[in-house]
């Protein structure tokens, strides 16, 4: 058996097991950790498929950045020790199972009927990767797809602005007039103007 197959049969079951574990465990941090391991096994799959660049990106971005922030949030919110909330929506679990089965069946038939690339066979690895995987990828990313690449930067700007606009509302960005408009209203939900706090009640408006 070639080495690739050995690696695959070690990591593929691990991948499935961690995916299931992530859903099954009740502790939020454990679930996040299962997800990290799962990302790692997926990364190994990329490596087996001769996509080392994707392997590195998968680890740097998902395991190294996103999941750390996830853990960060979980730890800061302190939702880690409590029991996971029970079924909030009635029949959610049943529906989820049915839909999951449906999508597996759908994918199976779809893939079986028109297995991938119906119009042309995928090229060989070396043929589509002249000069190695990273530089071939750079070729595609910065030439054929340079425009989506640039649009992504706009997307990130919008996302950053969005987050900042939403986060700033709590702080000193509200004017006196705005605070009066909201006094005793729903702003206390944000801890901005507690009822009876000095300056909010019984003070004449400007």
């Amino acid at each position: 058996m070639p080495l690739d197959n050995v690696v695959f049969w070690v990591f593929a079951p691990l991948s499935v097991a961690t995916a299931i574990g992530m859903i099954v465990v009740r502790n939020a941090v454990h679930a996040a950790l299962f997800l990290v391991v799962n990302f790692f096994t997926i990364a190994v799959m990329y490596l087996l498929l001769d996509a080392p660049f994707l392997f590195a990106v998968q680890i740097v971005v998902y395991a190294g950045a996103i999941m750390v922030l996830f853990l960060f949030v979980i730890m800061l919110l302190g939702v880690d020790r409590g029991d996971a909330p029970g079924e909030r929506l009635l029949g959610q679990r049943t529906t989820a199972v049915i839909l999951a089965v449906a999508i597996v069946a759908e994918l199976a038939t779809a893939i079986r009927a028109g297995i991938g690339f119906t119009t042309r066979a995928p090229g060989g690895f070396d043929a589509v990767n002249p000069g190695g995987n990273p530089s071939a990828l750079a070729d595609v990313l910065f030439r054929d797809y340079f425009f989506p690449f640039e649009v992504t930067s706009i997307l990130l700007i919008v996302a950053a602005v969005a987050a900042m606009v939403l986060a700033l509302r709590r702080s000193k960005s509200l004017s006196q007039r705005e605070i009066e408009t909201h006094a005793g209203d729903d702003l206390e939900a944000y801890g901005l103007a507690a009822p009876g706090a000095p300056g909010t009640v019984g003070e004449p408006s400007r």
Binding site: G114, G116, Y145, F147, V151, I157, A159, V161, A162, D186
Partner: protein, 481 residues
Amino acid sequence: MIDAPRVELWAILPVLMLFGGGLIALLASGFARRAAQAPFALFTLAALAAAAASALWLWNRETTTALEGMVSIDRLAVVATLALCGIGAFGAYLGFHYFERDDFRRNEFYALLLFALGGMALLVAAADLIVVFLAVEVLSLALYVMTALTFRRGPTEAAMKYFLLGAFASAFLLYGVAMSYGASATTSVQGLARALTGVGGSQPLALVGALLLVVGLGFKVSLVPFHMWTPDVYQGAPSPVTAFMSAATKVAVFVAMVRVLDVAFGSLAWDLAPAIAVLSAGSMILGSVLAIAQRDVKRMLAYSSVAQAGFILSSFVSPEREGIAAALFYLISYSAAVVGAFGVVMLISGGIREQTGFERFRGLGRRQPVLAALLSVFLLSLAGIPPTAGFVAKVLVFGAATSAGYWPLVLIGALASVAGAFFYLRVIALMAMQEPRGVDIADPSPLPRLVLAVPAVTVVVLGIVPGVIVPLLQEAGVLTW
């Protein structure tokens, strides 16, 4: 060393104007958070005018794709961009008035508006599914925040709901892109069209991809059953934002749907038409029926927009391309009416604590005859009663559906229109026939009334002489690839 890509920036000049304007407005609002917002509003209008002018400049260009096949240059995009700029101008003015009235300075509003419009202008020109996805994300992110911009509990909750369900829909969209790539080894709209034509037999993978794309896009235009967010978000969002997003999102996403369904998956049209018919019928029926039960004007308009999405979609069952012009006309008449309607609602609702229950509108005809008249015109157009544009629009889309042989769909549409007429006319009756109660909190300023007369006139003129734009739209509807 890789070859440099062809960078034909002129092809996306309208998009660049909007994004550039957004960036400038953003920087300015960062340095002048508490400054007066009038310059921002004026700057936004200027950016929109520049974008519209550059879109017009593209009208006579040869139909082709640019930027390595990522965006298309054609008249469909031009018409849609012009419509978007118009809607954006009204959104900017209404927002200016809304925030100015309460001295609620949110100068980021203009940057976000321009970013959203930039995303939409990109979406209508997108010739690659990846660009479609990115554009949808850009406009969605901007809209989520615009929804929450007043930071009251209602808008915040609405934005949260919009965001969570929107993220869910994005996943469908992306999954659809992945499936389409799996079926054709390309993400380009043209490439998909080429790959899928002439391949015999059914193509389940491509079909699944197309359906997932329809789900993802259908969420944005609130088709049943992906409409769950619509009433809450339309009601919770500030009225000018609702006016903007209800019109502009529909224009942008439906035009993108034209490209995806009629061009990329054009060869699967016969397979997809039943699914589209079901979505369309469901939206028409459920939107109309649920709108009847509403006691809040914004909520009612939200459900009506679900029904309107169904009407627009009914023109998509036509595999011939004549449906495109019908859909475009419907989109334009719907946009004018819905922007105007939400604009009037904004003026009546009285300030940032919006009160839009039916009792606010009781006897409005006595107190605010102008506003009542304007709202009546808009509602009549939405109902599709002549001589408004809504009537012509319905005739056109039903004509397209009939010619494709989907007369049951047309029948359902006609019934839904009748049900729709009931709830629109009920509001008009409420305004005209009943005695006013409570205090009048309507906005007395004259300028917004004048501005809102523009969509009213548009609706009436298009209803009487639709010929002024229909030939143009038919030209825009010709997609040569």
